[in-house]
C-alpha cells in the first residue's frame, strides 16, 4: 500500500511539473460516462445518457434547468401566463440558428411540441405534454400554448430534455446527427467508445470557453477508476465507484464533488404483495433497515438519508426519517403482530447499478436479522423492466427515481409499487391545479407525510452525485437537478 501511494505521489509530481510547462490553457476536455447513449435524439427515448451528452450542449428548450435546480429562460427569453393559468405566451430570442444554419422560430417550437404530444409520438415523457390543448404561432418569435387545465409545473416541464426544440428538417437524423441550437455542435461518434462535440461559433448566447469536448463511455467501474487514475479522463460526473473516492480525495490532481441528484433511492415495495399489503409489515420493514449502514456500505458514505419520497435539497422537503428509525426489536414486534412471528420469505430483485446490488446485499442481511428472508436475484435493466416494473412480479426491489419532483407517481395505482390511496390521488389532482406557491408548498409537505406514514416504500437515501474532476476544471455542475453534463460554464483554470 505504501509502495502504491508513493508511486502515485511520484507520478503525480512528474505529471504536475510537465503539465505546468506544456499546458498554458487547455480548451478541450474528456469526460467519462458510464452509459453510452443509444442514440442522440432526446425526444425519442428515455435513456438518461442522451441528455447527459446533448442537454444544454447541443439542444435547448424554451426553458432550462440551472445548476442549482432552478428554472431559467433559454430559447424563450420571457413568457406571460394568463390569469386562469391556461395559456402561456413565450417570447423567443431573435436570431437563433440551428447548427445547420436554418433559423429557429416559433414554427419550430410548434413543430417540436406537436410532435412530442402526437398520437404516434415515441417521446418517453409524453405526460409532460399531455396537458397541452394547442400550440399557436403568433409571429416568428412568439408562441402561445394553451393548456386544457392549469398546471403549476408547466414551465418546469418545458425545461426537460424531452421538451427541447428541434427542427423538422433535421430531426429525422437526430439519432446519429443531432442538430440543435446549443453552444456545441456534434462532430463525431465512435460507437461504443466516444462522442465528440465542438464549439458552435455561431451560438446566439454567451460563447463557451471550451473548444471541444469528448464523452468517453466506460461502463465498468474498475475501468473508470483506472482511466481517471491513468489520466485518460479529465472528469467523471456520476463516478460509479464510490469506494475509490477517498483515494481521489487524497490526490491533489483531483477534486471530488459530492452533489445531489433528484434520485430518491427507495426500497420499492409491492403494495399488493400478500405480505406487504399489510401496513404493519411495511412498517416493520422500514424499522428493520439501517440507512446509515446502507449509505456507508453501499455508497461509502455518500448520500443523505430520506424518510419520504422527496429530494432533501428541495425547499419543501421535510425530514421524516424519524418515522422509520432503525429499530429491529420494534420491527420484530410488528411482524409478530402482523402474524409473522417467524418472518416470511420474499424476493428482492435488483437492477444493475451498484447502489442496488450492494445496497441489496446489505438490506437482505438486515432483513434476515428480523426474520424476513429476501431472496436476491440480480436482473438486467430490460429484465427488471419486464418482471418488476411491468409485470409487478416482485416483493422488493431497490431503485433510484431520478426524475425531478416525481412524488406524483404515488397517485398512480397501477404504478409498479401499486400504492392505491384515493386521498393522495385527490391531493395530487389539487396540486396540479394549484399555482399559489405557499399552498403548493403545504400540499407537497402533506403528500410527503402521507406516503411516509403509509410506509409505501422503504425510503433509503438521496442518491449522491459524486463526480471526480481534474482539480483545474471549474464550472462543472455539482448537483444533478436533471440528467445533464452542462458544459456551458466549464473552463480550465490555467
Amino acid at each position: 500500500m505504501n509502495f502504491f501511494v508513493k508511486k502515485v505521489a511520484t507520478a503525480t509530481a512528474i505529471l504536475l511539473s510537465s503539465t505546468i510547462i506544456s499546458h498554458a490553457a487547455q480548451t478541450d476536455i474528456t469526460i467519462g460516462m458510464q452509459l453510452e447513449p443509444p442514440n442522440l435524439d432526446p425526444t425519442g427515448g428515455a435513456a438518461g445518457a442522451i441528455d447527459q451528452v446533448v442537454y444544454a450542449n447541443i439542444f435547448e428548450g424554451l426553458t432550462r434547468y440551472q445548476a442549482d435546480g432552478s428554472i431559467a429562460p433559454a430559447l424563450a427569453k420571457s413568457w406571460n401566463i394568463s390569469d386562469d393559468g391556461l395559456s402561456y405566451t413565450f417570447h423567443l430570442h431573435e436570431g437563433v440558428k440551428f447548427h445547420d444554419g436554418s433559423s429557429m422560430d416559433a414554427e419550430d417550437v410548434k413543430f417540436s411540441l406537436d410532435r412530442a404530444r402526437a398520437e404516434d409520438s415515441t417521446n418517453a415523457q409524453k405526460a409532460l405534454f399531455a396537458g397541452i390543448a394547442s400550440v399557436d404561432v403568433i409571429d416568428a418569435t412568439t408562441v402561445k400554448i394553451t393548456l386544457s387545465s392549469p398546471n403549476g409545473g408547466f414551465i418546469t416541464n418545458m425545461a426537460w430534455g424531452d421538451a427541447v426544440i428541434v427542427a423538422p428538417e433535421s430531426i429525422g437524423n437526430a439519432a446519429t446527427n443531432p442538430i440543435g441550437t446549443g453552444p456545441f455542435v456534434f462532430s463525431n461518434w465512435v460507437q461504443g467508445d466516444r462522442i465528440e462535440i465542438s464549439r458552435n461559433d455561431n451560438y446566439w448566447g454567451n460563447p463557451v470557453a471550451l473548444d471541444s469536448a469528448t464523452f468517453k463511455f466506460i461502463s465498468d467501474p474498475t475501468a473508470a477508476f483506472a482511466a481517471m487514475m491513468a489520466g485518460d479522463l479529465d472528469a467523471f460526473p456520476g463516478y460509479p465507484a464510490p469506494e475509490t473516492l477517498p483515494q481521489f480525495a487524497a490526490d491533489p490532481r483531483f477534486t471530488v464533488i459530492g452533489g445531489n441528484t433528484e434520485g430518491e433511492t427507495i426500497l420499492s415495495t409491492n403494495n399488493k404483495d400478500e405480505h406487504f399489503s399489510k401496513l404493519k409489515v411495511r412498517k416493520a420493514l422500514a424499522h428493520a433497515i439501517n440507512r446509515q449502514e446502507i449509505i456507508d456500505g453501499a455508497m461509502f458514505g455518500y448520500g443523505k438519508p430520506i424518510g419520504t419520497h422527496f429530494a432533501p435539497h428541495h425547499p419543501d422537503y421535510i425530514d421524516l426519517t424519524g418515522n422509520s428509525n432503525y429499530d429491529p426489536e420494534l420491527s420484530k414486534k410488528l411482524l409478530s403482530e402482523a402474524g409473522y412471528p417467524n418472518g416470511f420469505e420474499t424476493t428482492l430483485k435488483l437492477p444493475p447499478p451498484s447502489y442496488a446490488r450492494r445496497g441489496g446485499e446489505i438490506i437482505a442481511a438486515q432483513l434476515r436479522a428480523v426474520g424476513i428472508k429476501a431472496e436476491i436475484s440480480n436482473l438486467e435493466w430490460a429484465d427488471w423492466l419486464k418482471q418488476v416494473f411491468k409485470g409487478k412480479d416482485y416483493g422488493l426491489t431497490i431503485v433510484s427515481h431520478t426524475e425531478p419532483m416525481d412524488i406524483g407517481i404515488y397517485a398512480r395505482p397501477t404504478y409498479y409499487f401499486q400504492y392505491d390511496n384515493p386521498d393522495f390521488q385527490q391531493l395530487m389532482t389539487d396540486l396540479t391545479a394549484e399555482s399559489d406557491p405557499s399552498s403548493r408548498s403545504a400540499m407537497l409537505k402533506k403528500a410527503q407525510r402521507i406516503i411516509s406514514e403509509d410506509y409505501v416504500n422503504g425510503y433509503l437515501f438521496q442518491l449522491a452525485r459524486t463526480s471526480v474532476i481534474n482539480s483545474k476544471i471549474k464550472g462543472m455542475w455539482e448537483n444533478s437537478p436533471t440528467q445533464a453534463t452542462d458544459l456551458t460554464g466549464v473552463s480550465w483554470t490555467d
Binding site: M229, E293, G297, P352, E361
Partner: protein, 274 residues
Amino acid sequence: MTHFPRTLIFGGILFSIFLLGALISFVWTPADVEILQITARFKLPSTAHWFGTDHFGRDIFSMIMVGARTSIAVAVVAVGIGIALGVPLGLWAAANHGHWLDDFIMRGNDLVFAFPSLIIAILITAVFGPSAFNAIIAIGIFNIPVFARISRGGALSIWTLDYILSARVAGKRAFRISAEHILPNIANLLIVQGTIQFSLGILAEAALSYVGLGVQPPTPSWGRMLADSQTMISIAPHLALFPGFAIILTVLGLNLMGDGLRDILDPRIRRTQR
C-alpha cells in the same frame, strides 16, 4: 499403479485443500458469511481474520471456504451433465459409425463448438435469469460435445477390437456392448478429461460470476468476490488477491491431477513414455 506421478500427488494435495475447505464449510466457518459488519470492512489479514475482511466486513477466509463449495459444486454438476449426456451420445454415435446418425451427432457437436461459449452462457442467463442452476446449465452444455467427442473417439477404437466381435457373436446388441465392454474401457479417458473439464468448469464459473451471472448473493462465489473487489484493488488488494489465488490454485491442482492421471491411466501416453 504403485508409482504415483509427482504431478498427481502435488495436484491432489492442492485440490484436496480446497475440497476439504468446502466440506468443512458445511459445518463450520471462522465467521458467518451472511452477516455483514460494515464498520469492520477492509481489515487487513490478522489472527482474527486470516485473509482480512471485505467491503462488507465479511471474513474473506470464510468466504473462500464457502466459495469453494460453490465453485466445486457448479463444476461437478456441469461435468456431470457433460458426462451424463455426452458419453451416451458419443457411444451411440460410435455404435452407429458410418450411419447418418453418427454424422448427425458429430456435426451437431461441431455446431455447439462453433458457438462462442461465454456469449451463449450470457444469452442463457438472459433468457432464464442469473442463478447457480443456469450457470451450471450454461457450462454443462459446452461439456456435452467434449465428452461426446472423446467417448466416440475412444469407443471407435474399441469397436474395432476382436472382443467386440466376440460379444456380437454371442448375440449382444450395441447398447449392451457399449455398457459392458466400451464404457469400462474408456473410463480412463473420461476420468482424465473429466478432471480437465472440472478445472475449466471452475474457471468458467468464476468468469460467469464475475460478470454477475452465477450464484446470487449472499452465497459467496470466487468470481463475484473478484468482481466486487476489483474497484478496490488499489485500496485493499487482498480482496482481489485471495479469491484470485484460490481460483488459480484450485485450477492448477486439478490440471496437475489431470496430467498425473493421464500418465497412469491413459494407455496411449503410457506407451509413449516407455
